[in-house]
Structure formats: structure tokens, C-alpha cells
């Protein structure tokens, strides 16, 4: 039996779990859920197989974006405690495999969307992948503290794509849902950035707390939370959603603003455990899940 193969000449094939981790599965769950809600809230019915395939295409597209993001940011990830254990900085995966996996998955996701749905949805999916990789990851993130404000658009695409996959056209409600995620992104990420600030500073990423300081970031979290609350409630008075969604949005957004006031009106002290910031970050995820669930519930079972 030949034992001449060495680590220097031949590396171990990537473990599939590392390839899976490259797709950021936790982020993907929110993407899949909001896309599904966009699809289910759309008028008319979609064949279940085509609906499943469209959501699968969106999930694969999101996974591809995550993989290409991790491929590009492997060096930065290695400098941050939160991300140092990822497959690339930890050395469990080689960059070439990650790049090929990301590009292949992206191409396949767009092809699947084109095959299962329509060219409009496929085009939007392609645009969201390119926006996330080139505009957010490569251009904005290392250059400006407004990175996640503008880059938030990438994460706001899924409900719009879900709707377009079902109908073939854009309508006001999915645009408002796009706007909601777009405005939700800054308070969500800045709450996180406040309690992992040193990580971002070590990696040289110009996140808002690192560049503009803690006080300014806290004030902006509050401002964005107020605008986001208005955008979240807007579909109700505008007539694009009913009372079930409206009351859910009012109550959940009120709580979001209360938590943001707690974050926006304080300053961290020596040895602070940052509980209000962690609470806002955790709540913001639940907020989006419940609110999008309410969009669907309101469409199928209006009050």
C-alpha cells in the first residue's frame, strides 16, 4: 500500500460540514423565512413544487453569498474572536475550494430560480448576490461606517424575490417589506457592534462604534428604530395589510423602540455586561420573524 502522500503535497479534502458552515446557516434561516413570507403573502397561488424550488434557490443564493463573503474576509475573520473559528481562518478549508464552492453555488441558485420561477426573480436573485459580494463585502465594509446601512439592502431582497417569484412583478407591499428590513439592519447590527466593538477595532473594520464613537452610535440606533417602526406600521394605514398585521406591528415596534431607548440613552461603564445591547440584538431577530409571520397570517386569515 502506498503511503507516499504527504500533507505538503496533498491536503485533505474539505469536510462537508465545513462547506455547510461556509454558507452561514443561521443567517440563511432568516433569509429563507422572510423569502417564504414574501412568497406566501403574494396574491394568487403558486404550485407547491415551484414554491419550494424558488425558496431553495433563494437559500442557495444566500449560502453562496455567505461563502463568498467568508472567502474574501478570511484574513479579517482570523483577527476577530467571534469569527476566528470559521473554516477558512481556522485552516480547515483552503480558499480555492471556498471560492469554487461559492461561485458554483451562486450560478446554480440563479439557474434554479430561472428554471423554477421566472427571469425577473432570477435577475433579482443575481443582483442581490452581486450586491452583497461586490458592493457590501468588497467595497463598503472595509471603507465606511455606513457599510451596513447601504449593505442592508442585500439582506432586504429575500421577501421581494419571494413575491416576484410568485407573481412575476413588483408591488407596494414587498417594497415596504424591503424597506422594513433595510431600516431594521442598522439598529440590529449596531447593537451587536456595541458589544463586540473591540473585535471590529482589532480587525480594522470601520463599524459605527469604532469610527463615530459609542454615543453617536447609540443615538443613531434610536433614530433608525423610530423610522423603522414607522415603516413597519405603514402597510396598515396605507391599506396593504389588515388589522392583524397592524396591531402586531404596533405592539412589536413599540417594544423595539423601548429597548432602543434603553440602549440609546445610556453609556457603557467599566466592566459593563452590555445587557441592554444584547437584549436589543436578540429581540431584533425575534421581531423580524414574528412581524413577517404576521404578514402571512394577515393575508391568509384577515381579521
Amino acid at each position: 500500500m502506498a503511503h507516499s502522500l504527504t500533507h505538503g503535497e496533498t491536503s485533505l479534502p474539505a469536510d462537508w460540514r465545513d462547506l455547510f458552515a461556509l454558507t452561514k446557516p443561521r443567517v440563511m434561516s432568516l433569509v429563507v423565512f422572510t423569502a417564504l413570507c414574501g412568497l406566501l403573502a403574494a396574491p394568487g397561488t403558486v404550485h407547491p413544487v415551484l414554491a419550494f424550488s424558488s425558496i431553495l434557490a433563494i437559500a442557495l443564493g444566500a449560502g453562496a453569498s455567505g461563502a463568498l463573503n467568508q472567502w474574501y474576509e478570511a484574513g479579517l475573520d482570523a483577527k476577530m474572536k467571534r469569527t476566528a473559528g470559521r473554516p477558512l481562518p481556522a485552516g480547515r478549508l483552503d480558499p480555492q475550494t471556498a471560492l469554487q464552492f461559492g461561485v458554483g453555488l451562486a450560478a446554480f441558485s440563479v439557474f434554479l430560480m430561472l428554471f423554477a420561477s421566472n427571469w425577473q426573480a432570477a435577475l433579482l436573485l443575481l443582483a442581490s448576490i452581486l450586491f452583497y459580494v461586490f458592493v457590501y463585502t468588497m467595497w463598503l465594509k472595509p471603507r465606511t461606517p455606513q457599510n451596513i446601512v447601504i449593505g442592508g439592502a442585500a439582506g432586504a431582497f429575500p421577501p421581494l424575490i419571494g413575491w416576484v417569484a410568485a407573481t412575476g412583478s413588483i408591488a407596494p407591499l414587498p417594497v415596504l417589506l424591503f424597506l422594513l428590513i433595510f431600516l431594521w439592519t442598522p439598529p440590529h447590527f449596531w447593537a451587536l457592534a456595541l458589544f463586540v466593538r473591540s473585535d471590529y477595532a482589532a480587525a480594522g473594520i470601520p463599524m459605527m462604534p469604532v469610527v463615530a464613537g459609542e454615543k453617536s452610535t447609540r443615538r443613531q440606533i434610536l433614530v433608525y428604530a423610530l423610522i423603522m417602526a414607522a415603516a413597519a406600521i405603514a402597510p396598515w394605514p396605507l391599506g396593504y395589510a389588515g388589522a392583524l398585521y397592524g396591531w402586531t406591528a404596533v405592539l412589536l415596534s413599540a417594544l423595539f423602540v423601548i429597548l432602543s431607548v434603553q440602549v440609546g440613552t445610556r453609556m457603557a461603564r467599566e466592566g459593563d455586561t452590555m445587557q441592554p445591547e444584547k437584549r436589543l440584538f436578540a429581540y431584533s431577530i425575534a421581531y423580524l420573524f414574528i412581524l413577517f409571520g404576521a404578514v402571512v397570517a394577515d393575508h391568509w386569515w384577515p381579521l
Binding site: H3, L5, T6, H7, D15, W16, H47, V49, L56, F115
Partner: protein
């Protein structure tokens, strides 16, 4: 005089190499099979919708 350089490669773990190869091959077979089934049902669904 030069120090002897310790550049002897680590012994290659062939069992681990084969295990990963097998795991990936099995997964690839499953994915390709799943895709074939999915594409079949998408085609049927599109024909049904067109009718």
C-alpha cells in the same frame, strides 16, 4: 555549519483522507439524486401550470 532542518512531512492520514472522500462522494450522490428528482417534479409542475 547548518542546523539540520526538520522538514520531514507529517505522515499522511490515509484513513481520514478516504473517510472524507467517501463522505463527500456519498453526499454528492445524494444531492445529484435529489436534484434529478427535483427537476423532474419542476417539469411536471410547470406542465400542470401551463395546462
Amino acid at each position: 555549519m547548518t542546523e539540520p532542518v526538520n522538514d520531514i512531512p507529517e505522515p499522511f492520514d490515509e484513513a481520514e483522507y478516504r473517510r472524507r472522500q467517501r463522505a463527500r462522494a456519498n453526499l454528492m450522490a445524494l444531492l445529484l439524486g435529489g436534484l434529478a428528482v427535483l427537476f423532474f417534479f419542476i417539469t411536471i409542475a410547470k406542465l400542470t401550470v401551463l395546462k
